[in-house]
Symmetry: C4
Subunit: 209 residues, 4 copies
Amino acid sequence: MATIYNRLAGRDLGRIAALSDGIFAFAMTLLVLEIRIPERADVHSEAELWAGLVALAPRIVTWLMSLMTLGIFWLGQQTQLGHLARADRNLSWLYFVFLAVITAFPFSTRLLAEYFTFRVAFFIYWGNILLAGLALLACLIYEERAGLMREDVTPEVKHALGRRIVFAQALYAVGAALGLMDVAWGVGFIILVQLNYAIAPRLPFLYKV
Amino acid sequence: MATIYNRLAGRDLGRIAALSDGIFAFAMTLLVLEIRIPERADVHSEAELWAGLVALAPRIVTWLMSLMTLGIFWLGQQTQLGHLARADRNLSWLYFVFLAVITAFPFSTRLLAEYFTFRVAFFIYWGNILLAGLALLACLIYEERAGLMREDVTPEVKHALGRRIVFAQALYAVGAALGLMDVAWGVGFIILVQLNYAIAPRLPFLYKV
Amino acid sequence: MATIYNRLAGRDLGRIAALSDGIFAFAMTLLVLEIRIPERADVHSEAELWAGLVALAPRIVTWLMSLMTLGIFWLGQQTQLGHLARADRNLSWLYFVFLAVITAFPFSTRLLAEYFTFRVAFFIYWGNILLAGLALLACLIYEERAGLMREDVTPEVKHALGRRIVFAQALYAVGAALGLMDVAWGVGFIILVQLNYAIAPRLPFLYKV
Amino acid sequence: MATIYNRLAGRDLGRIAALSDGIFAFAMTLLVLEIRIPERADVHSEAELWAGLVALAPRIVTWLMSLMTLGIFWLGQQTQLGHLARADRNLSWLYFVFLAVITAFPFSTRLLAEYFTFRVAFFIYWGNILLAGLALLACLIYEERAGLMREDVTPEVKHALGRRIVFAQALYAVGAALGLMDVAWGVGFIILVQLNYAIAPRLPFLYKV
């Protein structure tokens, strides 16, 4: 009986992972559609095409930022799922909510790319990051309360998983505060935070969070 | 021989699950494309951008409703697949039909978002939900008749699986009747039914259905 | 050593299956985007919306036909993969070609939906079906020659797998011949062939092919 | 403990593979959307439709080239993943970068299709291939240094994996140099290189690289 239960639970975990990979794959690929190529009618020479591509810079910056956002959340969710022994219906719903928030990134990315200097666009983008973090945190809290984690997961690891989300969101909130003053500063700070997570995961201090 | 058969059957179950996850992932992510951002030429200030976003409310409501619809059917199908010991060619076809109905949601969602006050649009949306429920029920009935369920699935569980679909469709039908009078009431009722399924799965009465 | 080899081969089979499921899921969901909703500016009443939807009939017919086409090839490929013991690099390439042909269906479907009465559009659609069948047949022939099938697959089964593809393509070719006279007849015949494969797989005569 | 670790690592490998398959599936299917069908208003006869389709030739050539590019990288990554015993967080990030580069192909393909005779477009396309190759090479180097490969992978195999990437990129660089003179020559040479990899993997000389 226990065997069957575990098999089922494992299947559920697999379904969550599979839906997640599909959504991340699709959202990542959709992002590039926002980088529209220069209008054919406006371009008559190599130089004009190059100029048209350079003018895409804000969209390319937003694209790279969103790719990193998705990468960080993909890895974060993967790490969390990796500590689970099994899943249940409620957790499936919570991860579904997390994934629904992830599907909003192509929208918020497009908005920010089109309205790069607008605070409203920036805060909606930050709100998207915040919601994704909160959803992931809700999954984590539920996993602990419902006892879904593997037995070998120590309290230290559990604590570290939560602290990692809270710390990252605190850094993003600093970026949001900077964005209140100037959107470009806010975007720049968020990109720095992300590069930090992406490139320097071996620094002892940041590796822990 | 039995081993080979089971392995093959398991593989088929995996293929159904994988196709399903791909389709749900894609349909979920497509939905957000319906929330078009305000036209750049119409927006000259933060206030105008905010007003443009507030004007997207009907699309956002329809988006959230469709996300919940997809979530409910994703979980419903996952639960059903979780009770199977194996699949066969006919069942693959039946689930393919179910998934084809799911791929229609981006269409019916777009129609309802664009024609929010039109009864025709609302009934096509409801028809989409109805067809998805019927397809899932057809899968369930076939699974029982063809003896594809795991041996440890009791008659009570089988009964509960079917009752759950019929009960949900009955609630959606009430929503459709309300929509006959006023589309906003119909949409509101359907959202309440969905929130019920999504948020309150622990209430003893509803957990059973 | 043999164990490692089998594990690797199994992984390859899994990758082929996963790429296939992704492509079928995506192609299926893309198809519905071809059914564009009536222009908001043209619609002032429920009756006009209904009329606008009825005018979508050719697109809906083409959509259903393409869904069935994809379903038949999804199941056909699944059956073929189910008989394999392992895969190799060449087979991966052959299935990649098959999948590339599958990704062309959203194009040929769009073409046929837009140019429903044009022979050119119909023959490109039929050509897409033909290429998909030939690619699947090439996979099958290679599987036999390279000895990739499971040991318990009898010569009868191998023969049946090939005959199934050839027979179906022969029926599609009849549809193409009818389309030479009138496209509507050709489309109608192809839909009949597909319904046959989808709905009546238990008839002894057709089940064998 | 070792068992749990391996299981986790295997799960990570599975997640990388699943995300990859999703992204390749999606990118492949997106490519076909670039082949826009002739405008309905411009076409009044079968001959005009045929002429309109013939005019799509540059887009179809670019489409086929990109399909082959994706196929080659899909197989290349699959081969590399097949030699791994386990994955870690850093490797997940490196593959994420590789996949992000892959998601750029629909953009660079669209650019080349629209600006077929422009050197800028051709070099951005080549740059995309180069970046994909470098990312794959970075993954390979990290895998060796971090000791993530299976124990039965000999130094010869490791060397061959790296040489394969470097050799292919050298051939692409020749194509780029030819493109400096004439874009059509560059595209033609790259297609020849790809056909070589796709069709002739059994030639002793090329099979080794």
